[in-house]
Symmetry: C2
Subunit: 130 residues, 2 copies
Amino acid sequence: MSTSETGRFTPTPIGFSEEELALVTYDRDGLVGAIVQDASDRAVLMFAWMNGESLRRTLETGRTWFWSRSRQEFWCKGETSGDRQYVRSVHYDCDGDALLVTVDQEGAGACHTGNRSCFYRAFGDTVANP
Amino acid sequence: MSTSETGRFTPTPIGFSEEELALVTYDRDGLVGAIVQDASDRAVLMFAWMNGESLRRTLETGRTWFWSRSRQEFWCKGETSGDRQYVRSVHYDCDGDALLVTVDQEGAGACHTGNRSCFYRAFGDTVANP
């Protein structure tokens, strides 16, 4: 890690082979789920969707690229908010239908609500546990 | 945590309200993605699918219940393998379309391959990073 014009981190491309890319499977919409985990303390920050092109962009640029199902367009996390994610590694699971992206998270966090993690609410928060 | 007849952990139900359950949204197959994270060191162990009934069973029993898309049936993690998961908490994300389940993992791990985590392969493992 080194400083850059934008903050504490610099994007670093991730090496990959076409053989590895071919191990990822996509659903009938051409998407695979991507879990984003903070490298600093392993907090799970968010869950979003990638298609083949956004996965390739993520690996090639070292920034997280997703596919927005609602807007039907690519988005590079943090381009608007400044809360950029710098990729450390991308794992794929045993059957290739999920991704785990480890990142250095810049800014306040990953969630558009202002929370650091999108998973800021738990069942039982509002009721007494039995 | 206390010992039980099956191992180191005992299942503990998670409190929830119907209002909380109603915040979870499901895809057109009636499913929501569930990330399973180990409470001990925050390793992401696996990703699987739940429907409304498997989420309810998970909360009520304190064990992880998923929906198998290939077999079209419920499965309680570890019933066959012995690698059971005891639920500590279930979070839902900002837009309610993903779950984060924190567990105590019993046995060798979560993956049917024998690996502890299903995410045991990373891009670049087989190629030199640039």
